[in-house]
């Protein structure tokens, strides 16, 4: 009797261990597949030209070459500066506009609030193509083509997605502080400025991160609105470079690596905000 129980126990133990081993193998193989494109990008960017095209491919560079990161004839530094300016302006716009709008939806009572908020939610689902052409014509009439204004005054000044996210956050703040502030003679704006905002730095961080990645990666709007090479952001510059360096994979990958580097750095510094932002939008949606 004792023996059969032992064997049964042993069998379920083996099953368990082999299932776990299988789990780790699947996760590791998948992880390698997800990581390999990055590794390939880095290895191509630091390899001497002759070694890049050797077949079968070699992973370890014979010597580290950084010449690829110099890109003659194209104002790469300028593009970086442009992208930075576009990103920073948009973060300032997003944080100020979305937070005051979200505060009104979360904490201020006025007729039509719920109906208007439904409109905000509806615009989240609107494909931007139905607004792009008239907006383009409007900006061209105003003489704003080839300026950053169209990239700054995007579809809605207060992005509905951010309004939604910040509203959810403001609603979780305890109301007792509001009441205390009211008794102390603080107006609604005071409550927003002195109480709600200082407590919402994590949520504002999430909005800033979203704006950062969106504007850094954004390609469509600069493509439509900008003509001067000197005004290009990095994303548009990369596309221009593709035409000239089509066959030089070392330089292409070095440029691509430089283009994603700021995002990678921000990601590793502020991973918490990335994860939080995604989770807030998903769970409460």
């Amino acid at each position: 009797m004792q023996r059969t129980v032992d064997i049964q126990l042993l069998r379920s133990r083996i099953e368990r261990v082999s299932l776990r081993a299988f789990l780790y193998i699947v996760v590791a193989v998948g992880g390698v597949m997800f990581a390999i494109p990055f590794v390939w990008m880095v290895r191509t960017s630091v390899m001497p030209m002759w070694q890049i095209y050797v077949f079968p491919p070699q992973w370890i560079p014979a010597e580290l070459v950084f010449d690829n990161f110099r890109i003659p004839g194209l104002p790469f530094e300028r593009w970086f500066l442009n992208s930075t300016v576009i990103v920073l302006l948009n973060i300032v716009r997003a944080v100020t506009a979305s937070s005051i709008v979200a505060f009104a939806f979360a904490r201020v009572r006025f007729p039509g609030r719920e109906a208007l908020f439904l409109v905000v939610l509806a615009t989240m689902m609107l494909p931007s193509q139905v607004t792009t052409i008239p907006t383009y014509l409007l900006f061209s009439r105003l003489g704003w083509l080839d300026t950053y204004l169209p990239l700054f005054l995007r579809a809605s000044i207060a992005d509905p997605f951010h309004v939604f996210l910040l509203r959810q956050f403001f609603r979780t703040l305890p109301r007792e502080l509001d009441d205390a502030a009211r008794i102390d003679g603080c107006g609604l704006f005071g409550i927003f400025w002195r109480i709600a905002l200082p407590q919402s730095l994590p949520a504002l961080g999430v909005v800033s991160i979203f704006e950062f990645t969106y504007n850094w990666n954004n390609f469509y709007l600069p493509l439509i609105y900008l003509n001067s090479v000197n005004k290009f952001p990095v994303a548009l510059g990369l596309r221009l470079m593709q035409g000239q360096y089509r066959t030089n994979m070392g330089s292409m990958m070095a440029a691509a690596l430089m283009a994603v580097a700021p995002i990678l750095v921000i990601f590793f510094l502020a991973q918490r905000y990335f994860v939080q932002g995604i989770v807030i939008t998903g769970i409460k949606g």
Binding site: L19, L23, V27, G30, G31, F34, I36, P37, F38, M41, T44, F55, P56, A97, V101, A104, V108, R109, F110, V120, T123, L126, P127, Q129, V130, T131, I133, P134, T135, L153, R154, A155, S156, I157, A158, P160, V163, G187, L188, W193, N217, F219, Y220, L223, I224, A235, L238, R239, Q242, M252, A256, A259, V260, L264, V275, I278, V279, T281, G282, I283
Partner: protein, 307 residues
Amino acid sequence: MTAFVHRIARQERVLSPWLREALFGYLCLVPWIVGFLVFTAGPMFASLGFSLFRTDFLNTARFIGLKWYEDILFTDRLATKALVNTAYYAFAMVPLSTALALGIAVLLNQGIKFQGLWRTIYYLPSVVSGVAVSLLWRWLYQPEMGLINSLLANVGIKGPRWIYSETWAMPSLIIMALWGSGGAMLIFLAGLRGIPTSLYEAAEMDGAGPFRSFWNITLPMLTPTILFNMVMSTIGSFQVFTQAFVLTEGGPNNATLTMVLYIYRKAFEQMYFGYGSALAWALFIVVLVFSILALRSSRLWVFYAGE
């Protein structure tokens, strides 16, 4: 700003507190209302109007009714192709990306060691989307010296010509996009954490194995998250542009010409703003229909634990 608000508040001291609060609320909404009217609602109706006109250049507009929509449906074979391609992409992407994201999330949720590290690896590609990623994948897909075909050759498979093949160009786009499914995975991970462990304990007491509890607990409890991810992925997939523009340039032989790419060519390369607007509205209607279908069908398969 503060002084301005204070002045208004002082002037309104004669008003009832309720009215003051309401006025303050509307004042706060000004940025959104302006943005909504000038950059969303206005252009939306304007483009609906444009779509009824023939406009070669800005100054010569002629009313033609629904002619453009007729063209999209029956005459313009490129428009049909763009619609079919976009549908192909969306119908592959929505289920595949949802299944992949869910699969990874479930694996990572099994109390695995170094969960944070794995999560970062799987999530990172979705952060760096855009032109740089498309350029990287152009190189990976390169038929003779690219990594993918080299690896396939190692195991004795002669890889296809990927982005240069009419058959494989669209799958190339899809595979690259699947690489960026990390955002949905994070949402699933958060959803998995929200499932009470007591449910699993009860199931184990009843003798349910891991696959049974996945089918009978995890999946039903996650259906609201699945719906959310599917709707977001539907909206995103129908608007795919940058990947098709940079990775395959719509080719070969228009095999990856998507709706937004076609709208871009018609409106911003050839300056047919009327026809471009009609295409945009056609796309909008398709997206709307599928989003509504997903939400409607959700009554049949989405399970809300709170109800």
